[in-house]
Symmetry: C2
C-alpha cells in the first residue's frame, strides 16, 4: 500500500478517494479538505477570531488543531454538562490538549454556573436527552461567542454526522430542518455565524488525524446518546458506504449542490419572525423568556437525577 502522492509507505486507505496516504500526506489531506470546506462555503476569513466548541472527543479536538494549523485565531470553549463519569473525563482531555499546545480555553460549567445538569434537564423534558443537551450547548456557545467578541462558532460535525442528520430529516421529510442544514449559517439577529469545517472528513479520518498528531481524546460515546436514532442512521449509512464508497459524500454534497435551496423559503428564513431580548438573560428569542432559561428554571426546580433515562415524564 503506497501513498498516492509520494509512493512512500501508506498508513491509511480512503476508499471514497480511491487512494492511500502516508502520514504526512494524510495530515496534508486533512488540512486541505478543511481549507476547501472553509473556502467552498465561505466559512471564515483569514483574520477571523473563531470559538471552537470542544467536547474532548476526536472531532472537536482535531478541528481546533486544524484551525490553528491553518493559521486561524482559534480559542476553545468547553461546556461541562454534568454527566457523571463522562463529563469529568471529557474535560480532562480538553485541558490536557490546552496545556500541551498552549491554547486559550473558555470554560462553562452547567452545574456551577447555571445550577443544573443535562441528566436533570433531560428528565424534566419529554424528549430524548440529546434534545435538552443540544439546546443548552447552542445557547451557551452563542452567549460565549457574543461575550468574547468572536466572529464565528466552529463545531466538529463531520461528514458522518451531517449525512446522518440529513438522512433522518429525509426519512421524515422535515422540510424546515432540511432548509437550514448548511455547513455555514451566517450571523443574524444577535446569533453568531456557525461553521462546520470538518464536513469533508469522516469520523474515521478525524480519529486517524488525532492519533497521528498525538492528540489524546475521549473515545467513549456519551452514555446518554446510546441507542439514539442518529447512531442507527450512521450504521445504515456505513452499510451503504461499504457497498458504494462515496455514498455519504454524494448524499450530503449532492443535497447541498442541488437540493437545499429548494427547501429554503424566500430569502434565508431570517426576518420571518421578530426577535426580542430574553427577559432573563437578554439572548435573542421569539418569546418573553428564551427556551434555555425556561429549561434551566424547570431543571433547577427539579430533584437532581443521576445518569439514566428520565424517571418521570411530565
Amino acid at each position: 500500500m503506497k501513498c498516492r502522492v509520494c509512493r512512500g509507505p501508506a498508513v491509511i486507505d480512503i476508499r471514497r478517494h480511491n487512494s492511500n496516504f502516508c502520514v504526512d500526506h494524510f495530515l496534508k489531506l486533512c488540512r486541505d479538505q478543511v481549507a476547501k470546506a472553509i473556502k467552498q462555503f465561505s466559512m471564515l476569513e483569514p483574520g477571523d477570531r473563531v470559538l471552537v466548541a470542544v467536547s474532548g472527543g476526536k472531532d472537536s479536538l482535531a478541528l481546533w488543531d486544524l484551525l490553528v494549523e491553518l493559521g486561524y485565531r482559534a480559542d476553545g470553549l468547553y461546556v461541562g454538562l454534568g454527566i457523571d463519569g463522562y463529563s469529568d473525563v471529557s474535560g480532562e482531555f480538553v485541558r490536557r490538549f490546552v496545556e500541551e499546545r498552549g491554547q486559550t480555553l473558555v470554560e462553562v460549567d452547567l452545574r456551577a454556573d447555571e445550577g443544573f445538569d443535562v441528566p436533570t434537564a433531560a428528565a424534566v423534558t419529554r424528549r430524548v436527552p440529546c434534545s435538552a443537551c443540544g439546546l443548552s450547548k447552542r445557547h451557551l456557545f452563542d452567549r460565549a461567542a457574543r461575550e468574547g467578541g468572536y466572529d464565528a462558532v466552529a463545531t466538529g460535525h463531520n461528514l458522518d454526522d451531517e449525512a446522518a442528520v440529513l438522512f433522518g430529516n429525509l426519512l421524515k421529510w422535515q422540510t424546515d430542518y432540511l432548509g437550514r442544514q448548511r455547513p455555514m449559517l451566517p450571523a443574524r439577529d444577535g446569533f453568531p455565524r456557525k461553521v462546520k469545517p470538518l464536513v469533508r472528513l469522516t469520523e474515521r479520518e478525524t480519529a486517524a488525524y488525532c492519533v497521528l498528531r498525538g492528540i489524546d481524546y475521549q473515545v467513549e460515546e456519551c452514555p446518554m446518546a446510546a441507542g439514539n436514532k442518529h447512531l442507527g442512521f450512521k450504521e445504515t449509512l456505513n452499510d451503504l458506504e461499504v457497498r458504494s464508497p462515496g455514498a455519504k459524500h454524494d448524499l450530503y454534497f449532492g443535497f447541498l449542490d442541488r437540493a437545499v435551496d429548494r427547501f429554503t423559503s424566500a430569502g434565508d428564513g431570517s426576518g420571518d419572525v421578530e426577535l426580542g431580548a430574553c427577559a432573563e438573560c437578554g439572548a435573542p428569542t421569539t418569546g418573553e423568556v428564551c427556551a434555555f432559561c425556561r429549561l434551566a428554571a424547570r431543571a433547577r426546580d427539579a430533584e437532581p437525577v443521576a445518569l439514566g433515562p428520565p424517571r418521570r415524564r411530565r
Copy 2:
C-alpha cells in the same frame, strides 16, 4: 391475535398500521388502500379502460384482480422477455390467471414479434440488464395502450418498489428523476396515462393478497435482476422499517406531500422538448428514431446470448 375490525381470528399483522386483520378484512383493506390511492392521486375515473402490465408476479396479478374487484374494465398485457427458464414460467402464471378468471389478455413476445430478447439487448448496452428491459417494456406498454385505445397503463409497483427507487434517487440527488417520481403521470404527447395503484400496499401485503385470493404467481425474482442496487435499497429500507414501522410510508408519502413539487420544473416538464414521430415505428420521440427501435436494431444484429451477464461490452 384478533382482527381490528371484527375481533375474529386474525391472519396477518401489519405493523405500520399497528393492526391485525382476518381474511375478509385484510382483503377489504387491500381494496380500500387501492381505492384510496386511485382517488388520492386522480389515477382513474369509473368508466376508464385500463391496461394492466402483468409479469406473472404477485404485484401485477394482485393489481389486476383488485382493479376488476373495484369495477374497472381492466385487461392484461404480458410481454414475453425471452429470459430462458424464467419468461416461459412467468407467462404460464399469467395465462392460468386469465383462464381461471375469464379475463382478456394482450400478449407481445419480444423474440417472435420484435426479433430479439432481453439478454441479447442487455448485452449490447453498457448498462445493467434492467435498463434495456425497462426501456423495452415501457415502449411496448405505451404502444399497446395506444393501439388498444386504453385510457391508462397500470403497473404493479408497490410501496417497497417506490420507496426503494426514491431512496436510490435521493442518495445521488437525481433531481430530474425525483421531479418525475409520481404515482400518476398524465397522458401527454402520445404517451398514455401511467398509474401505480398499489403504492399504499407493501410487497408482503400483495403476496398475502394473492395467497388469500388463490392467485398462483411466479415467486422467483428475475435472474437478471439478482444483486442489483434496487434490491439492496429494499434491504436497507426493510432494516429501517423493522426499527421504525411506517418508515417506508413516511419516506414515500412525505416526499409526495412536501417535496416532489420542489423538484418539478415550472409546469410539469411537458412541452420542454418537441416530440416528433419515430421514423421506424411512429412512436413519439425526441430523435429521428426512438430509443427502443435503436436498441432493437442493435440487438437484432448481435449474436443472441443465453441468460447471464453480458459477455462483451462494446
